[in-house]
């Protein structure tokens, strides 16, 4: 995330010049879906009501709500995935360290299931 671009690598682009959506997990996904939701909501409202100003308001509201919704949903799943990765990493470490000893997690698990 903080490493400078290596020569030969494509230059990193930031939204509006400062929002690093490429390297922030879920940001690009949320903003893309938010933009799509904004266009659909705003244009759809205009088609039904022909009110330009109100449709713009609906578009902006749609952008905010859809972006926020996608963001929280994606970040929740990302957090769950990180926790699972951490647990898996710890279990692999324990397995490597204690394999063949009385502390072997697999032996404990098999012992408890046979009881």
């Amino acid at each position: 995330m903080a490493a400078p671009p290596e020569p030969g690598e494509p230059e990193e682009r930031k939204l509006l010049g400062f929002l690093d959506v490429e390297n922030t997990p879920c940001a690009r996904h949320s903003i893309l879906y938010g933009s799509l939701g904004s266009v659909v909501a705003g244009f759809g409202h205009f088609l039904f009501t022909s009110r330009i100003r109100r449709s713009c308001d609906v578009g902006v509201g749609g952008f905010i709500l859809v972006t926020l919704g996608c963001w929280f949903h994606c970040r929740y799943n990302y957090a769950k995935q990180r926790i699972q990765e951490r647990i898996a990493r710890e279990e692999i470490k324990k397995k490597i360290l204690y394999e063949g000893t009385h502390l072997d997690p697999e032996r404990k698990h098999n012992g408890s299931s046979s009881n």
Binding site: M1, A3, T24, P25, V60, I64, L68, R75, A79
Partner: protein, 227 residues
């Protein structure tokens, strides 16, 4: 270390810093959306007809713009408090290092397994080797093991200093007459830089901190104690 013109946070080298980066992303997205809304409202204000006189009977709007900010603040505060309490956890540290701030260098004491004490001065530009970093490299680095909880006791011998290493998410004030404690667990080896973060005189910018994090097996062989 930071690269030139870097605006964002450095990559995380400890679990706390990973949490801080996650929280930063979360808060930044909320801030971005609020700014977007405010800019839109400003745009509407600047382009509205000046004959609009409807400035009363807006109870629904007033309810929304009272409750919504409260909800937003709760959404920001809960993860923030979680991380705040996480930083105060002390998980049975394996090693305790004392860091004492002076004008204008740091002294480090490894007193757990011997009496190693040394000073860490910034390398003057004339003494830099090719590849060394100007204003960041020091003569004696703090060598520590990775994947072991480490306790840093920080104080000062003269004026206020602050011991900071951004990649570990650490910044602790060095206050004369007071002993502050911070704990961390590094997750990957490497050389990490920080700088004094409390104004302390003419050479405040010239007392950097350099941590050399090495695997525990190599640390146990005793490279630290061969000075």
């Amino acid at each position: 270390m930071a690269h030139a013109a870097q605006v964002g946070l450095q990559d995380a080298t400890s679990p706390i810093m990973e949490e801080l980066i996650t929280f930063h992303d979360h808060a930044l997205m909320i801030i971005f959306l609020i700014c977007f809304l405010v800019l839109y409202a400003l745009f509407l204000t600047l382009t509205t007809k000046l004959t609009n006189t409807n400035t009363s009977d807006a109870q629904e709007m007033e309810t929304v713009w009272t409750i919504l900010p409260a909800i937003i603040l709760v959404l920001i505060a809960l993860p923030s408090l979680r991380i705040l309490y996480m930083t105060d956890e002390v998980n049975d540290p394996s090693l305790t290092i004392k860091s004492i701030g002076h004008q204008w260098y740091w002294t480090y004491e490894y007193t757990d397994y011997g009496g190693l004490i040394f000073n860490s001065y910034m390398l003057p530009p004339l003494f830099l080797e090719p590849g060394d970093l100007r204003l960041l490299d020091v003569d004696n680095r703090v060598v520590l093991p990775i994947e072991a909880p480490i306790r840093m006791m920080i104080t000062s011998q003269d004026v206020l200093h602050s011991w900071a290493v951004p990649t570990l998410g650490l910044k602790t004030d060095a206050i004369p007459g007071r002993l502050n404690q911070t704990t961390f667990t590094a997750t990957r080896p490497g050389v990490y830089y920080g700088q004094c973060s409390e104004i302390c005189g003419a050479n405040h910018s010239f007392m950097p901190i350099v941590l050399e994090l090495i695997p525990l097996k190599i640390f146990e062989m005793g490279p630290v104690f061969t000075l």
